[in-house]
């Protein structure tokens, strides 16, 4: 993947299977949930890589595995030249100072018994040797950065609205000055007008602090807005990866096409013109993914080949990767 930007994270053939056990007395490992099944992509320094897909496609698992919150089943994650799998536990922890996460649910991800100050300074306790005065200054600085009143340090999470809590989560992620921030659906639980506030904040911070984002979401239009490039996942696999405009204007994978056409357009004229592709059926279970291409059960153009051979993930046009037998760049 060539670009003027240098690569921060290389994900190579990453797999994460969760074992399923059965049997009362002799618990046997019977099968696996193939949450992430052989995905590869790069995250470039300073970019926002959008990761989209529907529930159960493995996008959250991918994010967490990159952070080593889950141990990968196989594959490599190379962060700034270092293979994370080769590191000892304490080395991984040190590395995590450079990669932080913002979570989806601003209610569940903040401890209700801790003050905002202690929530935000928790990463500082772990990763730095600041004294308490330095920490207090840093916390107040962070609150200011995310647009909250620095006098709020002694308040508790329940005193804040959803959008404000998400700002607290962002401040916590930024406390140790990370390079990479994995944003796992940071806006999906917020109201429309508040979503825009948080997205604008994330963009400002990226510019100011030179952050790299992996932005995970199911809201395509918002991901397209914030991303430089986008990855589309389905049932544990990457279906397509390309530049934000490229993927929107010239989607090559039938799943990407359906996904884009399914997004409601807030404009009655354009909505009337759009040709919606309605996919039939539901997403299959990742325990029993279909043989051949994962998308074959719902694909409108599937042929015999698709039920037998898993399509190769290949670069069909410059910087445009797709996994489909029938994708045609011309």
């Amino acid at each position: 993947m060539t670009s003027e930007k240098s690569v921060l994270v290389q994900v190579r053939n990453l797999k994460k299977y969760f074992p399923v056990y059965s049997g009362l007395l002799f618990r046997r490992h019977v099968k696996d949930v193939k949450a992430v099944d052989d995905i590869s992509f790069d995250i470039l320094k300073g970019e926002t890589l959008g990761l989209v897909g529907e529930s159960g496609c493995g996008k959250t698992t991918a994010g967490r595995t990159i952070l080593q919150l889950y141990k990968p089943t196989s594959g490599q994650i190379i962060f700034d030249g270092v293979d994370l799998a080769s590191l000892q536990e304490n080395e991984v922890r040190r590395m995590r100072q450079r990669m932080q996460m913002i979570f989806q649910d601003p209610y569940a991800s903040l401890n209700p018994r801790m003050t905002v100050g202690s929530i935000i300074s928790a990463p500082l306790d772990v990763h730095t040797s600041m004294n308490s005065a330095e920490k207090r200054d840093r916390v107040q600085e962070l609150l200011r950065i995310v647009g909250l009143n620095p006098d709020f340090v002694n308040r508790y999470p329940h005193e804040f609205s959803g959008g404000q809590r998400q700002r607290i989560g962002i401040a916590r992620a930024l406390a140790v000055s990370p390079d990479l921030v994995i944003c796992d659906e940071p806006i999906s639980s917020l109201d429309v007008s508040i979503q825009a506030q948080v997205v604008n904040l994330l963009e400002e911070l990226q510019e100011k602090l030179g952050l790299t984002y992996l932005f995970i979401a199911h809201d395509l239009s918002m991901v397209r807005h914030i991303s430089d490039r986008m990855v589309v996942m389905y049932l544990g696999k990457v279906m397509e990866l390309a530049d934000r405009n490229e993927i929107y204007l010239r989607p090559l994978h039938p799943y990407t096409k359906a996904l884009i056409s399914a997004v409601p357009i807030p404009d009655p004229d354009k909505a009337a013109q759009s040709n919606r592709i309605i996919l039939e059926g539901d997403i299959p279970s990742p325990i029993n993914p279909p043989k051949g291409c994962n998308f074959n059960t719902r694909c409108p153009i599937a042929t015999e080949e698709c039920f037998v051979v898993d399509p190769e993930y290949r670069e069909l046009a410059p910087n445009h990767f797709v996994a489909c037998h029938h994708a045609d760049a011309s």
Binding site: D191, A196, H218, H225, D228, P266, P268, D282
Partner: protein, 331 residues
């Protein structure tokens, strides 16, 4: 089109420990037969509470529908006794909720639950009801309906559960289907299936649909009329063209502005409405949007603007300054 339901000055509030929550503050509008009405707004704007008030599903106490009239079929629904409203519910007006898992009873089969609705509201006997239930499942696009009747809700996927809920709601061929965020918990490709399904059924059965959502995109596509709600008020109402192309209220403008556009250049900033919606316990005396509005003036703080006609008779807006904003006299 003939009138189907008419709300006049509906007001609903809740008595809580923190004080009185003013959820719906004088909502009036009329819906025609076969009309699709979109009700949009953010959490706490009263869109769901107003629908639950129509169905008389507000728990009293702590809730209280303390003013207004809801005219349906020549009767004011608010004056009916429990037995009478029960006949309206499900038969004339049916509702589909956001979370299909918690609206279905997990210990009964899907078939049992649909048959129950049918035997309560129609003269069908058990056997006929079961046949009708299978028909309904096939109507909403569930394959092998006879077999599926014996499934429990957990054996259905999220999209299928919502289809089953719709089948149940349609069982008595209601005149009005209220869909309260029916697709919010679903993935976009499944959402597209459900929207498509409801529109098709509406055409086939000729019912009216009230679609409550926070997603402006959905209503842009399907609604004849749209009510935009804020803090328990309708602040703008009109056709999809009125609301999206001839937007008048600063809040509606803000909502539309905060959505990303397909043709945004990279790095475009989203328009964001500053601040938060007002606390419904301490509603401001004037316009509820006052604190967040870029165009506010002194009058807005003290006087609630009435809904008035803007440009054409189908389009109404509650803002003191829409004319000036329209004319570009103020920035």
């Amino acid at each position: 089109m003939d009138g189907l339901i008419k709300l006049e000055n509906l007001r609903t509030r809740f008595h809580t420990e923190d004080g009185i929550v003013n959820a719906v503050n004088g909502v009036s509008y009329e819906m025609a037969q076969g009309e699709v009405l979109g009700v949009v707004g953010e959490s706490g704007c009263g869109k769901s509470v107003h629908a639950l008030s129509i169905m008389r599903l507000i728990q009293i106490p702590p809730g209280e529908i303390y003013d207004g009239e809801i005219w349906f079929d020549g009767r004011d629904l608010l004056t009916l006794d429990e037995k009478e409203i029960r006949q309206v519910r499900g038969r004339d007006i049916a509702m589909v909720f956001q979370d299909p898992m918690s609206s279905l009873n997990p210990v009964y089969t899907i078939g049992f639950q649909i048959v129950e609705a049918l035997t309560l509201h129609t003269d069908l006997n058990k056997k006929a009801a079961k046949e009708r239930a299978a028909e309904l499942l096939s109507l909403v696009g569930i394959p092998e309906p006879e077999k599926r009747l014996d499934n429990y809700p957990h054996q259905f996927s999220g999209g299928m559960r919502q289809r089953a809920m719709i089948a149940m709601a349609l069982s008595c061929e209601p005149k009005l289907l209220i869909a309260d965020e029916p697709t919010t918990a679903l993935d976009v490709t499944i959402q597209a299936q459900i929207v498509d399904l409801v529109i098709r059924l509406k055409e086939e059965l000729g019912m009216a649909v009230m679609w409550i959502t926070h997603d402006l995109g959905i209503v842009a596509e399907m609604a004849h009329k749209i009510n935009v709600m804020y803090a328990g008020y309708i602040i703008e109402r009109g056709s999809a063209q009125d609301i999206f192309k001839r937007t008048k209220h600063p809040y509606t403008m803000g909502l539309l502005g905060s959505l990303p556009k397909i043709d945004d250049a990279p790095g475009t900033k989203l328009f964001s409405i500053p601040g938060l919606p007002p606390d419904l316990v301490k509603l401001p005396k004037g316009c509820p949007f006052f604190a967040r509005c870029a165009y506010r003036k002194e009058q807005c703080k003290t006087e609630m603007p009435p809904l008035e006609e803007a440009e054409n008779e189908s389009h109404i807006v509650a803002c003191w300054r829409w004319r000036e904003i329209q004319a570009g006299e103020i920035q």
